[in-house]
């Protein structure tokens, strides 16, 4: 759906017909049409949102991240270690949808690099290592590199999820409001 079509009465009726499953188009009510119009406008806006990051990313990498996540911390650290000037963006509650649209995986972090969305912290670091080799995070020696990558995989697959599960119970605590005033 493109923005210009969002206001078209025929397109709205068609969308309402599809959304509601109403058998005949003339049975579509005004209420159905209103809902369909809202969906189409949101969809058009969402399409615009997903297109936008690729343009500035040509100039500077853009990181979609979750501040408190350890996998996101891993990627931020790699970017900082290599002194790669980048921008960071915290998405809203629709982050799963936007992440899925960008990489077909509902996970963050996602790095927009040269107009391409890269998901998964290990893949992101591999891409950074190829694009910005110095300072290196992979050892030069092939055997040492293999061992470093195996350890990276072990910590990602074992330590990361286990630590998350060991800490995240039903009650996480309360945000200190004094720090959030501004």
């Amino acid at each position: 759906v493109v923005a210009g079509e969002a206001g078209s009465e025929i397109a709205i009726r068609e969308m309402a017909h599809r959304l509601t499953g109403v058998g005949r188009r003339f049975w579509v009510t005004d209420e159905h049409a209103s809902c369909a119009k809202a969906v189409m406008i949101l969809s058009a806006r969402s399409s615009k949102l997903e297109v936008n990051p690729s343009r500035p990313a040509m100039e500077m990498p853009l990181l979609w991240h979750i501040p408190l996540s350890h996998y996101n911390e891993k990627v931020r650290w790699a970017l900082d270690h290599k002194r790669i000037a980048h921008r960071r963006q915290v998405l809203g509650p629709n982050y799963l949808f936007r992440a899925w649209r960008a990489t077909r995986r509902g996970t963050l972090p996602i790095l927009w690099l040269d107009g391409r969305a890269i998901g998964d912290s290990t893949r992101i670091i591999a891409a950074l290592e190829a694009r910005y080799p110095e300072p290196a995070l992979y050892p030069a020696d092939a055997a040492a590199r293999e061992r470093a990558l195996a350890l990276e995989d072990y910590f990602d697959e074992q330590l990361g999820p286990a630590l998350r599960a060991a800490v995240a119970r039903r009650y996480f605590g309360t945000i200190r409001t004094s720090h959030c005033a501004s």
Partner: protein, 129 residues
């Protein structure tokens, strides 16, 4: 922008734990097994390191970075850029105190001190388009 990030998170804090546990398939029944896995990983760090400063070669690599980053939520080292602004429940405080006794946790805190450095984030306004 940390403050903006926390403002975004704040309305979600009431519903987030249930969603998070569902999404990551976290079960109370597996709590001891999960903590045993964490301890095994800490032991493996010490085993791989064998008293050396780094895990693989005599320099900081992706292995050191990943191990320390995976421990960061519980370590909360001073170098972390987005510290937890939570009044932690007692069970987390006790668990954290116990983990910090492990030599691998102290090593990870040292890796943070030596290598975390400063943010390379550009403060140019995000999402300019």
């Amino acid at each position: 922008m940390p403050n903006k990030a926390y403002q975004t998170l704040r309305p979600l804090v009431r519903i987030f734990p249930a969603f998070y546990r569902f999404r990551h398939k976290i079960k109370d029944a597996r709590l001891e097994a999960d903590r045993a896995t964490v301890n095994a990983a800490l032991d493996r760090i010490e085993q791989e390191r064998q008293g050396r400063a780094y895990l693989v070669v005599d320099a900081f690599t992706v292995a050191d970075l990943t191990a320390a980053a995976m421990l960061s939520p519980i370590l909360q080292p001073p170098e972390i850029q987005y510290p937890l602004r939570l009044e932690l429940p007692t069970y987390v405080r006790d668990y954290r105190a116990a983990l910090l006794q492990h030599p691998a946790a102290q090593w990870a805190a040292g890796i943070y001190r030596l290598h975390r450095g400063h943010s390379a984030e550009s403060l140019r306004r995000a999402a300019a388009a």
